[in-house]
């Protein structure tokens, strides 16, 4: 698409389920988008699940959908996600889709649309989680189908989750992000996970996300505030000149991080379920990260093993110099360093 001035601004249109039009969270979002056009709908799936949608076009001008989740609220973590030793690992889908636009994002293969859904009935999430906590402590990723920190300017979801974590000590929340942020609330059972990528990867593949420098400043700030901080060198992706790119990235990152304050680190090369490949390629054609001729291992697409090992080694070798191996997790792509 050439002339972006012909496109509507993101969230110029907000679809609102009739049943939640007076929900406090709906009203909060609408107050932030007063000039947006409001379209009242019966059910979010009438918009979200339309056939034949063009993710690529929609991601230039996303719409927002405010709805009630009457289906599953909490899901068991997938094999492809690092569970960091937590056997009761779950993720919550209070939001579907992301403000950012990473070429390699699995959401492009998973969802039929680029429009973003916010489920406003967070009170139902809280009661479901309380029920589940009866059976023991749980680890919950709340930024799995979105980047929650980025979305916080649209809806103040973070304060809901922070309040819940403060009340429920057996609940550990992970908030994964590629956003920059300078206000953090240190809560012992919230882990802020920052994804770090070389600037060249960010510029090529991670559209609208924070630059490397801003991410590093956010990491430093979160550490200073006393937050639990995880660093994710994941996904490590193919890029032209990857060796030089990742080596100089590590040279840049290593001296800046207060390593003694880092809770743990995950490292993983890109992998994605085979079933998402078609959607990924059609929504992001002619990007080296989507067009790479991946190998198929057990239904998952991966970078060639030898190449993946070489990429991982650049990261891990750098990390070993500053952090004990037991804090480094690489298991989601088949290898494994850290203790359990």
């Amino acid at each position: 698409m050439s002339d972006k001035s012909l496109l509507n601004k993101p969230f110029e249109h907000i679809y609102i389920e009739e049943g939640v039009k007076d929900h406090p969270m709906t009203l909060q979002v609408l107050a932030r988008y007063e000039s947006s056009k409001r379209i009242y709908i019966r059910h979010y799936k009438d918009v979200f699940n339309r056939k034949n949608q063009n993710f690529r076009a929609q991601s230039m001008s996303r719409s927002l959908i405010l709805a009630k989740n009457t289906g599953n609220l909490i899901f068991k973590g997938s094999d492809m996600c690092q569970d960091h030793g937590n056997s009761r690992f779950y993720y919550a889908t209070s939001v579907m889709n992301c403000l950012f636009d990473c070429d390699y994002c699995f959401l492009k293969g998973m969802y039929p649309t680029a429009d973003i859904v916010i489920f406003v009935n967070l009170e139902d999430y809280a009661s479901k989680i309380r029920d589940m906590l009866q059976e023991g402590p749980m680890y919950l990723s709340i930024s799995y189908d979105t980047d929650l920190l980025a979305l916080n300017k649209v809806a103040d979801l973070l304060s809901f989750w922070t309040d819940l974590a403060l009340k429920e000590k057996d609940l550990t929340l992970e908030i994964r992000t590629k956003a920059s942020c300078d206000v953090f609330e240190p809560v012992p059972n919230i882990i802020y996970s920052f994804t770090l990528s070389p600037q060249k990867v960010i510029s090529s593949y991670e559209k609208h996300t924070a630059g490397l420098n801003s991410r590093l400043q956010s990491v430093i700030k979160a550490c200073e505030e006393g937050c639990k901080v995880r660093l994710c060198f994941d996904p490590v992706v193919y890029i032209n000149g990857w060796e030089e790119c990742y080596n100089s990235f590590m040279d840049e990152v290593i001296p800046q991080i207060p390593w003694d304050k880092i809770t743990d680190i995950s490292v993983g090369t890109f992998r994605i379920s085979k079933e998402y490949q078609k959607g990924l390629r059609s929504s992001c054609p002619m990007s080296a990260v989507t067009e790479y001729p991946y190998i198929n291992e057990g239904g998952y697409l991966k970078i060639d093993n030898e190449l993946a090992a070489g990429m991982r080694e650049i990261i891990v070798a750098g990390l070993r110099e500053v952090k004990d191996e037991k804090y480094i997790f690489c298991d989601s792509d088949g290898s494994f360093l850290g203790d359990r």
Binding site: S63, P285, M286, P293
Partner: protein
Amino acid sequence: MIAIFTAMKGEAAPFIDYLGLKSCGDISGIKLYSNERYLLAITGMGKINAACAVTRILTLYDDIKLAVNIGTCAGEKTGQTYLINKITDEDSSKDYYPDMLYKSPFDEICLHTSDSFKTDTCFEDSFGPFVYDMEGAAFFAASSSFLSPDKVILLKTVSDSGDPDIVTADYCKKLLAVNAASSIDFIEGIYSLLAESPYKEADILCEEYSTKLKCSEYMRNDLKQLIRFALSCNKDIKSLIESHLPVKNKEEGKKVLADVRQKLVE
């Protein structure tokens, strides 16, 4: 190509004039007008006529990139042209949603469609105000089997407030002529944003080298992917392949593909 669908000749006339379209016959009673960029089809009134015409045309013309339904409707503000952002089929209670990606000069509204004429003056329900026609839902349902919902557009101009008897061909023509230029400007803007296939260069290369490498269908898919990858990261796949040519048979071609792949991902 852009396809415009109208129900009646009176609705088509301002666009035939404005775009300088020429009659190009008819298909099963669907009158057609065209120039090198536009195809205009007069579908006849009602949902069945609309659905059949749209399906017929979009099946026959696979180069249509944008489908636009232009016509009159009943509503509160006579003369007002709207871009439709939601369509409710009153007969089935099913809702349809075109994507609203493009800036338009028109106000937006919901459209209700039913097979019968509207003779009352109520144009608001619990979801908000609406206008009313007899084709929109069927046009959208049929078009969106062929095109994504960002490429299906409905522009409706209010002709009456529940008094269909005043809607003559001449009246429609005059009413729609007012906004014909701005409607076409809007459509042209959208059309200019519809990108060419991102794979054009890759497809040309794939065509050339699949023959030279004596590819089977399976190998051809591999080759296509390697070419797309190479172009996406500015690698010189032509030289990589050329250095192995000529090949005698499929087996040799396979070896070349394996070697090229290896070199590309190094």
